[in-house]
Symmetry: C2
Subunit: 349 residues, 2 copies
């Protein structure tokens, strides 16, 4: 018998729209494989209105309305003025999907969205790393108490399976260390400076090419990397820390001379995320480091990223994501949704 | 309530003994986490006798007997003259673990061992890649008909999750291409020649250091890489091919001059495994290729290995195993065993 799964999306930016497209594309396959009819019953945005329709929102129309009107069509069936927290609290859904923009120093209002869902015994999926960087244990424990599922694969390396890899394939392994290159803006800047370009020119060019955000401070000062490090250490090592607990050094003081000097010795400077255990406590660090050209870390370019997970039983295991696009982010939340569907199927069975 | 799981091990070489040690080490944890009491009820060897004991073999004694006597102790309770196929056919076990040496051109007798187990509706785990390279579809279909589980994570990259990664974390993704460096002997030889050493000296030194087998022809001519490629393509791409179907070129004709010439252009020669789809058919290839020093593949050294799996939804995803030891091989079959245990738990539940 076919079951229905109702999804409420909070946020409808590029990742949300890419997810909607992927869902339309794969709706039939999910129905075939899992006998599950996935419906998006709510979409909340901050400035474009909201949509709520228990029969399922026409995602094609939703995408084209936003494209054509830069707003949901107020005349469309299901148009709503509910905001994101109202949707989380009031709409009848099974899974909430948190896709709102990151607030790096608080994790809010995404944390409240997820709490609202879990308090109602709904499942939660987040692509927003704020909640995992700031409130992981609280949300995880709440989900457990409520018998809800809570997934967040996309928060580090988009759809690349990092958390699922450890969860599903490294059973009984204890994570003892984590390393990675996880911020593409700093990766891009360091590479361009190494080519001999001036810092300011690199910033201007990077903004033009879409590699650097309007305000790059969060990337350059290492805050984005620190948030990702906090996420990794909270989930994989039970650290219970926040981004401000990460020992953090950005690339703002790295000079062209330093890069050149490192280069002469066969090294390349990269912003490295690191976590390990010292005196029984998990500590996290973000800092520029010299990497030998013989090391695969030296070959992680542009928007590619890399994570190495060290465990007692499998030692070092490295996973690389190559030049991700928004479709890979969409696959991340999509794969979390498939986990929810598989879990529901097991319960039935 | 605690459940019992009876394991029959075929083969007790270095991987078998490392698995036995890991199992002893983790027996209590498995009991706690899964309420499952794992017992090894049979161990078959070709030249050291066999052990069969439904109450569970004392693995510590089995290891020390083989160490001290180079044979199981004939006076020990449970000593048996049954051979591997007799054990597969007659002993009362739940899971067979195929750990016998690879016969690269037939996959036998490992295929028959696994068939014997599946025909009796037992589960099967293989670390031996022969059965997957030569008879994957037949064994998979047989397992399905018998409602048996059939796992083979260790056959490529030891315990590194390659098949489980695709199975458990890339749901609904279609694999369109596979690439990798999967043979450490050729990797070692090419590196040493690049350092200016003579081919024959490299072989002698490699044998002394344990990097090269007594008869290195299977590695040098690319047969080992072809078998691994066949395994990857059979499992991930439904190729239904064998090692002889792989277009294969070894490193036997690579000269120091070629390596040097490649080097001058910033390239390194590696033996690359490749699979893709041409005219609707999966084709496999093993050949030495020039890799740019900017590519992470150029930095896969010695016994490390790398696989890149290309899918429609997640594009390229790369996984690296660093300098594995026999403990990582043991973890591969151990993790397959945990999957069997988890599956049994779901069934109960």
């Amino acid at each position: 018998m076919t079951k229905e799964l109702k999804v409420a999306m909070l946020g409808f930016g590029s990742a949300g729209k890419a997810f909607a497209k992927l869902l339309m594309d794969k709706h039939g396959e999910i129905l075939d494989k899992y006998k599950c009819d996935v419906k998006v019953v709510a979409i909340a945005t901050n400035s474009k209105g909201s949509m709520v329709d228990e029969d399922g929102i026409d995602l094609e129309l939703a995408i084209s309305d936003v494209k054509n009107l830069n707003h949901f069509d107020k005349k469309r069936k299901g148009y709503s003025n509910l905001n994101s927290i109202e949707i989380a609290e009031k709409v009848n859904y099974d899974v909430i999907m948190e896709l709102t923009p990151l607030k790096i120093f608080t994790g809010q209002p995404a944390i409240d969205h997820i709490k609202a869902a879990l308090n109602r015994k709904k499942h939660a999926i987040t692509a927003n790393k704020g909640p995992i960087a700031w409130a992981y244990e609280e949300l995880r424990d709440l989900a457990k108490r409520q018998n809800s599922l809570f997934y967040y694969e996309t928060t580090v390396m988009d759809g690349t399976p990092v958390f699922n890899l450890v969860d599903e394939t490294l059973d009984l392994c204890k994570v003892t260390e984590v390393n990675g290159i996880l911020n593409s803006t700093t990766n891009f800047i360091l590479e361009e400076i190494a080519k001999g370009k001036a810092y300011d020119d690199v910033i201007v060019e990077g903004k033009e090419r879409g590699f650097i955000e309007a305000d790059p401070a969060m990337d350059i000062e290492g805050w984005d990397a620190a948030a990702k490090t906090a996420v990794l250490l909270n989930v994989l090592m039970g650290a219970n820390i926040t981004p401000v607990d990460i020992e953090r050094k950005g690339i703002e003081d790295i000079t062209a001379e330093q890069i050149e000097y490192a280069n002469k010795r066969g090294n390349i400077i990269k912003l490295i995320c690191h976590g390990s255990i010292k005196n029984g406590k998990v500590i996290g660090k973000v800092e520029p480091k010299e990497i030998s050209q013989d090391d695969i870390y030296s070959n992680i370019k542009g928007t590619s990223s890399i994570v190495t997970i060290t465990t007692d039983l499998m030692r070092d295991l490295t996973i690389v994501e190559h030049d991700p696009e928004i479709e890979q982010t969409a696959y991340g939340v999509f794969s979390d949704l498939l986990r929810v569907i598989r879990f529901n199927k097991i319960i039935e069975y």
